[in-house]
């Protein structure tokens, strides 16, 4: 039963892989320039691993994602706690947040190039924009959902406002903050690749773009798969964190 459950998720990808192989190298129904075969992709991956380019581009993307998320957390978590706690400030800012939030982060790219040039900081800025709002909105929500009985219990134990914010409101909204980060990271990953295609000279997005221009479809697919794997790893990490936090 348990083994069955563990094997189940792998069945569909395996079937797709076999079909993919049959359509390309197996029966030669689709030519290389329309869809590279699994063998092409494997060869491309091997070359990229051997010359160190895969590690270089992947680490560059990861660094940008991490910096963007860190920056967004540093700004959004304290700000979210303050906005969630003081109703007046929340009302004051809610309209501007609702307007800025749905703007696709990619549309900030022209400004990010103007302000930060081509390179790391420009991409980090776009990623920051991409995930700051979800972390902010989830944090505000978490603070507002803090059970009043915890706040009152802390007050009758002698807690002042600062202790209530740091020792009650923050830990009690932590599950929401983690959910916000989880959503933020998936947006950040999308932004990173898009930003790298336009405003960068390194990273998986840049690798994919140049490979397509140089007509290397194998490399394009390698880039796509790595991005998928990064997404899975982040998701797994957050799920572990949530399991530990959700009491």
């Amino acid at each position: 039963m348990n083994i069955e459950k563990k094997v189940l998720p792998f069945i569909l990808p395996t079937i797709l892989l076999v079909i993919w192989f049959l359509l390309t190298d197996g029966l030669h129904m689709i030519p290389y320039y329309i869809l590279p075969s699994p063998v092409n992709v494997f060869t491309a991956a091997w070359t990229l691993l051997a010359n160190g380019k895969l590690a270089m581009h992947t680490s560059s993307t990861l660094i940008k994602v991490f910096s963007g998320i860190m920056l967004a957390s540093v700004v959004a978590i304290p700000l979210g706690i303050i906005l969630g706690w003081y109703e007046t400030l929340d009302r004051l800012s809610s309209l501007i947040i609702s307007i800025l939030r749905p703007i696709p982060p990619i549309s900030w790219i022209p400004f990010s190039i103007l302000w930060f040039g081509i390179g790391l900081s420009s991409a980090v800025f776009v990623i920051f924009i991409g995930c700051v709002f979800s972390v902010l909105v989830y944090t505000i929500d978490g603070v507002k959902r803090t059970d009043n009985v915890f706040i009152e219990a802390a007050q009758t134990l002698g807690a002042n406002n600062w202790s209530i914010l740091t020792k009650i409101v923050l830990p009690s909204s932590l599950p929401y903050i983690v959910s916000g980060l989880k959503v933020g990271v998936s947006i950040a990953l999308m932004c990173t690749v898009s930003a790298e295609m336009i405003a960068s000279s390194k990273g998986l997005g840049y690798m994919i773009l140049t490979a397509s221009q140089l007509f290397q479809p194998g490399t394009v697919v390698v880039g796509m798969i790595i991005i998928g794997i990064i997404g899975i790893v982040f998701d797994y990490g957050f799920r572990m964190a949530q399991e530990r936090i959700f009491w």
């Binding site: 009985v149 007050q155 009758t156 134990l157 002698g158 009491w247």
Partner: protein
């Protein structure tokens, strides 16, 4: 005199009308007394308790705690809530030490020793590293009481703390509360709608009535401690209180 409630009134604004929760209530509580506020739901007993704690403000009148006007919550008046109020992200030990850790005194070792001693006394020594969701309802309330006592609170305000606990456990908790009260000479204001509980615990029973909430009578409990629930006197006195409450009226 520990608590002095002077001509307190309180109303709440609901959707379409004002609801008068308490009208002109006065009550004196002496140091070390165990007083039960007994009454039907809607008589404002919880509101009164919350105002004594400083969690709610009276519309009229004042409340004094040892001569000082009550304006906000304070660790001088511990509160045990009807709902479970343990912090779910802290284990039992960190929960009970919450108040002590706030004061910032660097006597962690001492606090820890005291916390362990208190937990041991109510049979929770094995649960010090457990989290609240792993405890039963009765255990949670025991931990909540220790959390307040460990904070050296001279006044303990309890809002139907055992109402969600099954009867057998409730009796044990009541017995332990009496033990704690004697040992620490805490002043206790205990809200309940359970006549048996009030008769078992209280020095004095404050019988309340609703519409609007007010004090009907304050009755001294003439029974000696430890009280026997099966005794003739206990049952007779219980009848008397029930009559006063109006439970037996048609």
């Amino acid at each position: 005199m520990a608590i002095d409630i002077k001509n307190v009134s309180k109303s709440f604004v609901t959707k379409d009308k004002d609801f008068m929760a308490l009208k002109d209530v006065s009550l004196h509580v002496d140091d070390g007394e165990l007083i039960c506020l007994l009454g039907p739901s809607g008589c404002g007993k919880t509101t009164l308790l919350r105002m004594v704690a400083g969690l709610e403000e009276p519309d009229e009148g004042e409340i004094y705690d040892r001569g000082e006007l009550v304006e906000s919550p304070s660790k001088e008046r511990g509160f045990i809530f009807q709902q479970y109020s343990l912090f779910p992200w802290l284990n039992v030990l960190d929960n009970v030490m919450f108040g002590l850790n706030l004061s910032g005194e660097n006597i962690k070792e001492e606090n820890l020793a005291a916390a362990e001693r208190y937990l041991e006394r109510v049979g929770l020594a094995d649960f010090k590293y457990s989290y609240p969701h792993e405890l039963s309802g009765g255990m949670k309330q025991r931990v909540a009481i220790i959390r307040s006592l460990l904070n050296h609170t001279p006044v303990l305000l309890m809002d139907e703390p055992f109402s969600a606990v099954d009867m057998l456990n409730r009796h044990t908790l009541q017995e332990q509360l009496i033990g704690v009260w004697k040992r620490f000479e805490t002043t206790i204001l205990f809200v309940t709608h359970d006549v048996d509980e009030a008769v078992y615990l209280a020095d004095k029973i404050v019988v309340m009535d609703k519409g609007p909430g007010r004090i009907k009578d304050v009755v001294e409990v003439p029974l000696e401690r430890p009280r026997q629930r099966e005794s003739r006197e206990f049952l007779d006195f219980q009848d008397e209180i029930e009559k006063l409450l109006g439970v037996w009226e048609p």
